[in-house]
Amino acid sequence: MLEEVFCFYILFFAIIVSAIGIILAPRMFLAMISFFLLICMTSLLYLTLNASYIALFQFILCGVVLGVYIFLLLKKIGRLNLKLKLVPVLKIISGAFFTVAFGVLCCLFMNEEFENSLYSIFNYITEKSSDIVDFAGHVFPLHLVILLVLISAIVIRVYLINRSEDV
């Protein structure tokens, strides 16, 4: 019981710190490290929610594939050491104001609606979807989607190569 609480709070603060690190890291490669840490920590958080499948999925797809992709892109354009640049102070203040206003609205919404509406909306969606299709029924179309994305990417790539040769 106590271990679970301890684990949750460690993950809670690690996730928040790494998220802040992404937007406020002084160098770009530090932001990349924060991004990778965020993915790892959220994957661990999913494990505490008994969602091991999505934890693995996120770690591989986002942590390994996307992280390496962004890293290689930044390396290619030579921007790994890029310094942190923020928008002017006035924009930061107005942005912070809107963020706080949005947060207050979120809190008010949660306070008003937490007991019934969010539960009922979520249950409505899942009941409608789980009546007919089971888990395997969801996974199979996912494979089709991935296959279609790959095929369309190859087709577009070939089309663009031919087009650029024409030009």
């Binding site: 106590l2 809670f12 998220a19 937007i23 999913y46 929610l49 890029l82 640049k85 924009k91 789980s130």
Partner: protein, 111 residues
């Protein structure tokens, strides 16, 4: 005091929702204050992760099945990753054309 301690120690749906909300706000803040386009894209990804945490926590703590929440989360993540990769490719083209990734400079150039 005892109520507060019991609230802190009994991890439930509310704690996960608070975490998701804070993450979403940090992502939103990143989108608003960053000038680097790569950071803006990563901030958008933070917001997506917070949405997935929301889905999974509802799936875990409500009566509904966790598998459905898993599937929703996987679809959201898949779409987010594809969207991020497409955005990065567009960003690379912008860099090739302008030699910088600064949103303010790009906006100035457009004006």
């Amino acid at each position: 005091m005892d109520d507060f301690l019991s609230f802190i120690l009994n991890i439930g749906l509310f704690h996960y929702l608070v975490l998701a909300m804070i993450l979403f706000l940090i992502g939103l803040c990143g989108v608003l204050i960053s000038r680097n386009l790569v950071r803006i894209i990563m901030s958008l990804f933070i917001m997506t992760v917070s949405v997935v945490i929301n889905f999974l926590s509802f799936g875990c703590y409500c009566d509904s099945s966790l598998e459905d929440a898993n599937m929703m989360g996987i679809f959201i993540l898949l779409i987010a990753v594809v969207q991020t990769i497409v955005a990065l490719v567009i960003l690379y083209k912008i860099y090739q054309a302008n030699e910088y990734l600064d949103s303010e400079k790009i906006k100035d150039k457009e004006n």
